[in-house]
C-alpha cells in the first residue's frame, strides 16, 4: 500500500464515491415498491437493503475483470482516464437523483468511460458494436421483459385471489414482496460492489501496486461493500418516490408481482449472460404491474422523462467524462481542478436538493409534483444543466415547509454558487455536442 501515488489515491476515493452514489441511486430498485405498498417502513426497508448489499459484496469472489466489459479498449488505460470517467458517472448519478429519475449507474459509468477514452485515445478506442449490444439493446429489452412478465403476473394474481379476503391476503403479499426485494438487494450488492472492486483493482494494477491478474486485497472488498451499503442506507428517497409512487399507484399484489418479476429477470439475465440493467428492469416491472391491474394507470409523462434520462445517460456522462479528461490531461493542476469541480458540482446539487427535501418522512406522501414544485427547480437550474437533463423535476415532493419557501436570501445564494459548476458543464456541452451520436 505504500506505493500508492496521489493520483491513485484520488482514483480510489472517487471510485468509492461512485460506489456510494450507486448504492444511493439504486436503493429504489429493491425497495421502492416495498416502501410504497407499506410492506416495510421506509427506514427498515433501506436498512435491510443496505445489509443485504453488504452481504452481497462478500458473497462472490468473481470480481469484474474489466470495467466496461469490452465497450472500450482497456489496454493502456491510464489512471487519469478512469478518474475522468468516474467524475462523469458520479455527476450524472447525482443529477438524475436531483430530478428523481431512475437511471442506470452502470450505463453512466460506461458513458463516462467512453467520453474519457475518446478524449484520451480517440474514437478507435470505443467498440461501437459492443455499445449497441451491451447498452442500447438491453435498455429497450429490459423494461419489455420485466414489464410484460409483471403485467401477466399481476393479472394472474388478481384473478386467483379475487375470491379471497383482501385483508387476509395482503399480509402474504407483503411477505412475498420482502423476499423478492431481498433477492434484488443481494444481487445488486454482488454485481455493483464488484464493479467498484474491479475498478480499484484495475487502477492498482495500472499503478503498478498489484501484479496483473491479482485478486483484490481485502481492504478493497471491505471498503467497496461498506460504501455501497452506506449509500443504500442513506437512500435516494427522490428516486424511491418516483418508482414507488410517481410511475403508478401500487397495491400489495402489484408490488409483489413487480418485485418478483424484477428479481427473476435480473437473476435470469445475469445467469444466461445477457445482462440487463437492474434499474431498467425494475422500472419496467413497476410499469408492467401498473398496467396489469384493471383500471391501473401508468403516468406516461413521468415514464417518458425516465426514458429520456436513459437515452441521455450515455452521452451526458460521456460529455462530462470527456471534459474531465480534457482537464486531467493537462497534468497535476488539471486533476486538482477536476477534483475541485467534482466536489463543487456535488455540493451544488446537494444544496439544490435541500430546497425540497424528500426523505423517509415524506417519501410516500400523496401529493406529487404540484405545478409550483415542477417549475421551481427548472427555474433555478441554468440552461446549461437543463440541456443535459430532462425537463422539470416533476416527482419531487411538494412538501417544502414554509420556512424554506420564505428563504429568499438562500435562494439567491444558490443561484450564485451554481454558476461556476454550470459554466463547466456548459463548456463540456459546447465542446462535444457531436459525440451524442455514439
Amino acid at each position: 500500500m505504500e506505493h500508492i501515488t496521489l493520483l491513485l489515491g484520488i482514483v480510489i476515493v472517487t471510485a468509492l464515491v461512485f460506489d456510494f452514489t450507486n448504492g444511493f441511486h439504486d436503493t429504489a430498485n429493491a425497495m421502492a415498491t416495498t416502501i410504497s405498498t407499506g410492506a416495510l417502513k421506509p427506514k427498515t426497508a433501506v436498512a435491510m437493503s443496505a445489509v443485504l448489499n453488504l452481504v452481497g459484496a462478500f458473497l462472490s469472489v468473481e470480481v469484474a475483470k474489466t470495467i466496461s466489459g469490452g465497450i472500450i479498449n482497456e489496454d493502456g488505460l491510464k489512471t487519469e482516464v478512469i478518474f475522468a470517467a468516474l467524475v462523469g458517472a458520479i455527476l450524472w448519478n447525482l443529477l438524475t437523483w436531483l430530478v428523481g429519475l431512475p437511471s442506470s449507474s452502470s450505463h453512466a459509468l460506461f458513458g463516462g468511460l467512453i467520453g474519457a477514452a475518446v478524449m484520451s485515445m480517440g474514437w478507435s478506442s470505443v467498440n461501437g458494436g459492443t455499445v449497441v449490444t451491451k447498452v442500447l439493446l438491453p435498455a429497450v429489452a429490459a423494461p419489455l421483459v420485466a414489464g410484460i412478465a409483471a403485467t401477466l403476473a399481476t393479472r394472474l394474481t388478481y384473478k386467483i385471489s379475487s375470491r379471497a379476503d383482501e385483508k387476509a391476503t395482503s399480509k402474504g403479499y407483503r411477505a412475498g414482496q420482502i423476499a423478492s426485494a431481498g433477492l434484488v438487494s443481494l444481487a445488486h450488492g454482488t454485481n455493483d460492489a464488484q464493479k467498484t472492486m474491479g475498478i480499484i483493482t484495475l487502477a492498482l494494477i495500472t499503478g503498478g501496486v498489484l501484479n496483473p491478474g491479482a485478486n483484490p486485497p481485502m481492504w478493497v472488498i471491505v471498503s467497496a461493500g461498506v460504501a455501497i451499503a452506506l449509500g443504500t442506507y442513506l437512500g435516494g428517497w427522490r428516486i424511491i418516490r418516483t418508482m414507488g409512487k410517481g410511475l403508478t399507484e401500487l397495491a400489495p399484489p402489484q408490488g409483489f408481482a413487480a418485485q418478483t418479476s424484477a428479481a427473476t429477470a435480473i437473476l435470469t439475465s445475469s445467469h444466461i449472460g445477457f445482462s440487463l440493467s437492474t434499474t431498467q428492469v425494475c422500472s419496467g416491472a413497476v410499469m408492467g404491474a401498473g398496467l396489469g391491474r384493471k383500471g391501473g394507470v401508468v403516468r406516461w409523462s413521468t415514464a417518458t422523462r425516465m426514458f429520456v434520462a436513459w437515452g441521455l445517460t450515455l452521452p451526458a456522462a460521456g460529455l462530462v467524462g470527456a471534459g474531465a479528461e480534457l482537464l486531467t490531461k493537462q497534468g497535476t493542476w488539471g486533476i486538482a481542478t477536476t477534483a475541485a469541480l467534482l466536489i463543487g458540482g456535488s455540493a451544488v446539487i446537494w444544496s439544490l436538493s435541500r430546497r425540497q427535501p424528500v426523505d423517509h418522512t415524506n417519501v410516500t406522501d400523496d401529493k406529487i409534483g404540484t405545478p409550483g414544485a415542477d417549475a421551481e427547480p427548472a427555474g433555478v437550474v441554468t440552461t446549461a444543466i437543463a440541456a443535459v437533463t430532462p425537463p422539470p423535476a416533476g416527482p419531487v415532493a411538494a412538501t417544502a415547509t414554509p420556512s424554506e419557501d420564505t428563504d429568499a436570501t438562500g435562494t439567491t445564494d444558490v443561484r450564485m454558487t451554481i454558476s461556476p459548476a454550470s459554466a463547466a458543464s456548459a463548456t463540456a456541452t459546447a465542446d462535444a455536442a457531436r459525440p451524442a451520436t455514439v
Binding site: 462472490s60 449490444t133 412478465a149 401477466l152 394472474l156 391476503t169 412475498g176 454482488t190 427473476t264
Partner: protein
C-alpha cells in the same frame, strides 16, 4: 456486431415463465391460507376441517422458498 438473439429470447421466455409461475403458486398459497382461516371460523359454527387447504398452502410456500434458495445459489455462484 453480433446480437445474441438466442440469449435475449431465453431471458425473455424464462423470466416470463418463472415470474408467472412463482406469482401464481404464491398466490395460491396465500388464498389457501385465507381459506383455512375462514374454515376455522366456520368450524366454530359446525363447519368442516381445513387440513387440505393448509397442506396445499404450505406446499406452495415451500415451492417458492425453493425458488428463492435457487436464486441465492445463482447469486453466490
Amino acid at each position: 456486431m453480433k446480437i445474441d438473439w438466442a440469449a435475449l429470447g431465453s431471458v425473455f421466455g424464462v423470466s416470463l415463465a418463472v415470474t408467472v409461475a412463482l406469482v401464481g403458486v404464491f398466490t395460491l398459497g396465500i388464498v389457501g391460507l385465507s381459506k383455512q382461516e375462514q374454515a376455522r371460523e366456520a368450524r366454530a359454527a359446525g363447519g368442516t376441517a381445513a387440513l387440505p387447504a393448509r397442506v396445499g398452502a404450505y406446499a406452495c410456500f415451500a415451492l417458492c422458498a425453493a425458488a428463492v434458495a435457487y436464486g441465492i445459489s445463482l447469486i453466490v455462484a
